[in-house]
Symmetry: C2
Subunit: 435 residues, 2 copies
């Protein structure tokens, strides 16, 4: 059976998809029992030179030609961003075509709407490439792990920030320096906001959590904090104490049903399975009630890795069409957005607090008393003379690590410190996970 594919967008992912389909055509046809053929490609820049071999006669600037072609079975939306991608996807679905995409922002913001449209139209809407590049995560979570109640997801979902943190750790460099190097290497965008402020990881977490917990996730319900404030000094302490610092995306369902979702940098023990996920690699650790912990690891982005995920989805739709089935997930996941969201103030973690204080007797006791009064119990303390500037030689640096405590108790402690003359500065407050 011949399956005709229309591609919207011929950037990195579009080129990767076209290249994988071309290079492995024989293999894919043998495995799927279908001939997957790209019959039209629409791009804003039809004349641009591409890094891969593409039949020029397929390329045009005309999106409508793809959306209106009755011969096309599947549209691969590989433009990115919300509009006009959303409009194109909905039009393709309305025209009875299945849609495959790698567009995390679109799914995070409009996934429920598009899912509903696809179900109503009896077509597939698949998006494996939207999380973790080519790593199979969404399909295994939905299919192989379907027998599990998900307890927790914990992931390193953004390659750029993981590259920056890995480099800072290995070379002892500061954030700004590594960021500009990453930008010059093309690992970070000129405007790095989406990555370094955790937006990208948040979109991906919302997609995974939606599947794992069978409910649409509102982005407003995810706490988000980026890596801009992480300093070489924080990493130094973390290393000394046996930890690494990672930008983690975490979603957890509490026994009472409440969902807790957050994206933020955190200390992770060096022995934790996610601690050795370095550079641009991504990984997701899923805890299910039956399976225990399973982890998926690989390159979180890139032309061919993401192309691999898109092609996997195209094969899934092709097999479905060949086998004469209605869509795989039709009529499933009817649960509305019903989850109760745990209040941010109730989040419980270990914390690390690094602060500059007056180097004189009694200061440590004063601060420890405040922690105690607010119900924060302490696990360990490292105190050092502040390095460098001799004018600051009357300042000491203290690095506190607390036992599990709520965000509320920590915030109250920090409030007190702001009023305390001996605390010159609270330099960083970081969570600790995986213990």
């Amino acid at each position: 059976m011949q399956i005709n594919i229309g591609i919207l967008g011929l950037g990195t992912v579009g080129c990767g998809t076209v290249e994988v389909l071309r290079r492995n055509a024989a293999l894919i046809s043998e495995r799927s029992g279908c001939d997957l053929r790209v019959t039209r490609i629409a791009t804003r820049t039809p004349d641009k030179t591409r890094p891969v071999e593409v039949d020029k006669s397929l390329i045009s600037g005309d999106v409508d030609a793809v959306l209106n072609d009755p011969e096309i079975h599947i549209v691969a939306e590989l433009i990115g961003g919300v509009e006009p991608a959303r409009d194109y996807v909905l039009r393709a679905i309305a025209a009875g075509k299945s849609v495959v995409t790698a567009n995390k922002e679109l799914i995070a913001k409009h996934g429920a709407e598009i899912d509903a449209a696809a179900t109503a139209a009896g077509v597939d809407f698949l998006f494996e490439g939207s999380v973790g590049g080519g790593i199979p995560i969404i399909a295994p979570l939905r299919d192989s792990l379907a027998g599990n109640r998900a307890l927790q997801l914990m992931g390193i979902l953004n390659g750029t920030t993981n590259y920056i943190l890995t480099k800072m750790t290995r070379e002892g460099l500061g954030y700004a320096e590594v960021l500009s190097e990453a930008q010059s290497l093309g690992y970070a965008e000129t405007d790095p906001t989406a990555d370094v402020d955790g937006w990208d990881a948040m979109y991906k977490l919302s997609i995974l959590a939606g599947i794992a917990f069978d409910t649409p996730i509102s982005l407003d319900d995810i706490y988000r904090e980026g890596i801009r404030k992480i300093s070489a000094r924080d990493i130094e302490y973390a290393t000394e104490l046996g930890y690494v610092i990672k930008l983690l995306a975490i979603a957890r369902q509490h026994p009472n049903g409440e969902l807790e979702m957050r994206v933020h940098p955190a200390l992770l023990p060096q022995t934790h399975p996610l601690a050795n996920v370095n550079e641009v690699f991504n990984a997701v650790l899923i805890s299910g009630d039956a399976v225990g912990d399973v982890m998926f690891y690989g390159r979180g982005a890139g032309m061919e890795p993401t192309g691999s995920a898109v092609v996997g989805d195209l094969v899934a739709v092709a097999r479905r069409l060949k086998n004469g089935a209605s869509v795989a997930h039709a009529g499933e996941k009817v649960r509305p957005n019903s989850a109760t969201i745990r209040d941010f103030a109730e989040f419980e973690t270990h914390f690390c607090v690094r602060m500059q204080v007056s180097d004189r007797p009694g200061v440590l006791a004063q601060i420890a008393t405040i922690f105690g009064d607010k119900g924060v119990s302490l696990e360990s303390i490292v105190q050092k003379k502040t390095d460098g500037d001799s004018s600051q030689s009357d300042t000491a640096e203290i690095f506190w690590m607390t036992h599990r405590t709520t965000q509320r108790a920590m915030a109250r402690s920090l409030n007190e410190f702001n009023r305390l003359e001996v605390v010159r500065e609270v330099s960083s407050v970081l969570r600790v996970e995986g213990e």
Copy 2:
């Protein structure tokens, strides 16, 4: 839609499957759009007390009652071993039922026959639980990664041996001591052959390689070597040089199409993604031409983890039945057992050779000359006085690490050493991977 399931075997995996289906019934029904109901269970020991809640009225000793029940859609074969499992599976298929199993030995030995029978009968035959317990590996490899030409699989596929090697490494203990401890804890069988001699890992490798390289694998084509000969001393050297020792299962396709498949202990750099897979955990690192390296990690065995995999397969069949599709993989993978197998003598790896030699001048040069004559070039050498027994004080121990070389060249060198008076003993020969 109600899907009726008949279960054969109520041991560890059977109990896990029944328990997961019972505990998460509501969730599974919501996700699959089907009511998965266990309607019959056959076991040789109907009256035995089980660690999970099972409706006793479903249990009997009568396999035929399951196989002949026209109301049953899916048979889960959870007996293990080749016969009578093979007979039951073929009869279930002949009766038009789909079959789900976790039986690696059965698939490794008769997978092609059963696949053909299932295809002819138009039913599904799924076996996610046969490799890696609950870790989704087979479905992702077949589906999400369908766009990739597989280059290599490398896995830690046996939990028992990984537990033993982890324990030996962490506590500096010998093989025999750790084995008997593992046996008393129930982590190793009274007859540990299947695990420690690499049979179990070999079965699993043949299953994965068959899918990855689209061809049935003959077990005779897999080189196999177990962990019985690994000593505390080998691990000591490995650790000192920055390596761990793991029982690896490796399948690789060379650019000329030749398959190289082997199961053996090997040194792996401590920074390798598989090096931190410890205790009873399993992991598979798959290298695809498009996706690069992806790794799947989790518990490789156990009641509920394997139950999770079986339930995932049951859900897949249920969805297929509900959606009115013909089987997912019908008409695919028609390629016969056509792969050329690389000759063992041509396998190329780094090697480590530990030997006891006469502690006198010129010995090292004599041995190095033999390596050189046979075309083996050396990467590093560690020489130590042999510890302990003073009668051996004229003996030194040398640990050689070679550059990449063929099995043939290594075997020829070892032959020469056997003839050499100054080489008292070749204590171990181990491969090095992941560099």
